[in-house]
Each structure stands twice: as structure tokens, then as C-alpha cells.
Symmetry: C2
Subunit: 166 residues, 2 copies
């Protein structure tokens, strides 16, 4: 997110991320994604990724896209419009690796409302956007104490904060 | 601020700060405040400080309180209702030490709208408040690139981020 908490400009523009691009630096993503077997993301984040014309960042992992208008399955990507909290509780009860919720805004908010996020990594980009789509949405959720696991700064000024919920 | 960007709960409650209190640890405040000769803060922050019954944290520095309803001067504390940006531009043109804007919300927003914040220190407390008064207000300001000067984490999980505007 930007220092002021946004993951995109109001129109979805994420070009502010370019300022931390660095050849050979993935900010721990490939190591992290190897601990994950299931990905949850909102429909807007999913469409944003497709529109970028990059390699699908989740490989052949099970992906759930939260949407009001389900589409046909696409490989291991499933579109769901049901209760997100129930889905996550059910997934947590199954053996497996981590469940990763990408993006922000509404999806993260829904999970925080139900205390379903146990661990989070937030990368703070050195910019103030002034307006846009917030990582932590506008709808509110109950207060939750965190424990800082690590804080790491990188050459381009990105600071990565890693917390667990206590 | 909390990780989700709040400096207080909706009713002004800042008790979440207690979780990072540590005997003998002032998170650099006394060193920092010695580089400052002028303090600017909003009326709500000022009243909050008075209500806490603590020692006035600005010593005998020149303090400007931004308010719609000016009060009589109180020692070196002056209440002003005029144009904040003009005041800051005028102060910057005078010799002196740093001008420190404390608090958040409206006052910070007004200064960011006019590109009048050159340097900022943000302390991220390990908690999600879910709702409240934002450090970076709701009214928007133009995008501003920052440069990370330092990032420091403390025993209680507070991470202090120090930036300059580029």
C-alpha cells in the first residue's frame, strides 16, 4: 500500500508500484507463494491481474474469485458468490498449506470482520497517493491486536511489515 | 497510526497507544523535539493533550493551534483561524529550527494539499482499529513521492518510518 493506505488510484491505476520495481527483486514473493496452496481474491483484483498481461501469479494453485456474477471455471480458478467467511472456515479445516488473500478493499474487510486473517504482510511504498482504493476498506471491522514478526526495508524504499494476529 | 491508518477511535480514544508504552523508551521524541522550535496542531489534538493531564509536550516552544473559534493566547500558545498554508509559508521563510505539525486528519491534509510537508515520521502501532480518525484525512491531496530515510522497529512492535518528500 501507499503510506496513506491505498492499493490503487480511484480508477484502479497501480502504476505507483513501478517506483519499487527492481531487476531480480521480488520482495519475497516467490518464497512466500510456495507456502500457499489456495488463493482468494476479489473480482476486481482478478480482472486487474488479467488486464496486465503478466504471467498468472498463482501458478496452478486453487484460486477462488469472489464475485456477485459468477463465471464458468477457468482451469483451477473458481468464481464464487456465496458466503466468503464460510468458505474460508471450511478451507481452514482442511489439511493444506496457507490460504492467501490477495488485493484489498472489500475482500480483506469481509475476512477481518470475521477474524479470519491470522497473518499479514503489508508492503509500504514510499508515496502518498492522496485518494484511491484502500487496503483496509471503508466498512469497518472489530479492533484486532497484532504482533510484529519482522520489518524489512529494501533499496527502493519499500518497507515490508509482517504481523500475526494475537 | 494503527496499521490501518487511524490515530484515534471515532470518539477520540487513543488508548491503543498504551500497548507500546515502555519505561524509558520515548521512541526518539525528546531527541526529535529538540530540533523543533515551532509546533502546529489542530484544536482537537490540542484539547486531547490538555485532557490527558500530562506535561505539555512542547515545552516553551511557539505553538499555533488551528481552530475556527480562536481563544486568548495561553503563554506561547496562539490560536489562529486564518489560512494555515500562508502561516506555514511565512514561518518557513524565517530563520529557525524545524516546524512540527502534530496530530493528523484535517491539519495534515491542509498542509499536504499545498505540498508544505517536507519530512514525516510515521509510527505504525501493531493493531488494526477498524474505524476512527485517519492520520491522512478523507479529503484528498495530490500524489507525492517520498524517499525512505530510515525504518526502525522497536521491542513493542512499533515501526517508525521516516521519509522526506522528493
Amino acid at each position: 500500500m501507499s503510506l496513506d493506505g491505498f492499493i490503487a488510484k480511484p480508477d484502479g491505476d497501480i502504476s505507483f508500484l513501478n517506483q519499487v520495481e527492481l531487476e531480480g527483486e521480488d520482495y519475497g514473493y516467490s518464497k512466500f507463494i510456495n507456502t500457499v496452496d489456495t488463493v482468494i481474491l476479489g473480482r476486481k483484483t482478478y480482472d486487474k491481474i488479467l488486464s496486465m498481461g503478466v504471467e498468472f501469479p498463482y501458478g496452478d494453485r486453487q484460486v477462488f474469485v469472489i464475485t456477485r456474477n459468477p463465471r464458468p471455471d477457468s482451469g483451477k480458478t473458481i468464481f464464487i458468490s456465496g458466503n466468503l467467511a464460510d468458505l474460508v472456515r471450511s478451507l481452514k479445516n482442511q489439511p493444506g498449506k496457507h490460504i492467501y488473500c490477495d488485493g484489498g478493499g472489500e475482500t480483506i474487510n469481509l475476512l477481518l470482520q470475521e477474524y479470519l486473517i491470522d497473518e499479514m504482510t503489508v508492503s509500504v511504498i514510499p508515496v502518498l497517493l492522496g485518494e484511491g482504493i484502500r487496503l483496509f476498506g471503508q466498512n469497518g471491522f472489530p479492533e484486532q491486536k497484532l504482533q510484529l514478526i519482522s520489518s524489512k526495508s529494501f533499496e527502493k524504499g519499500l518497507v515490508q511489515l509482517h504481523y500475526i494476529r494475537t
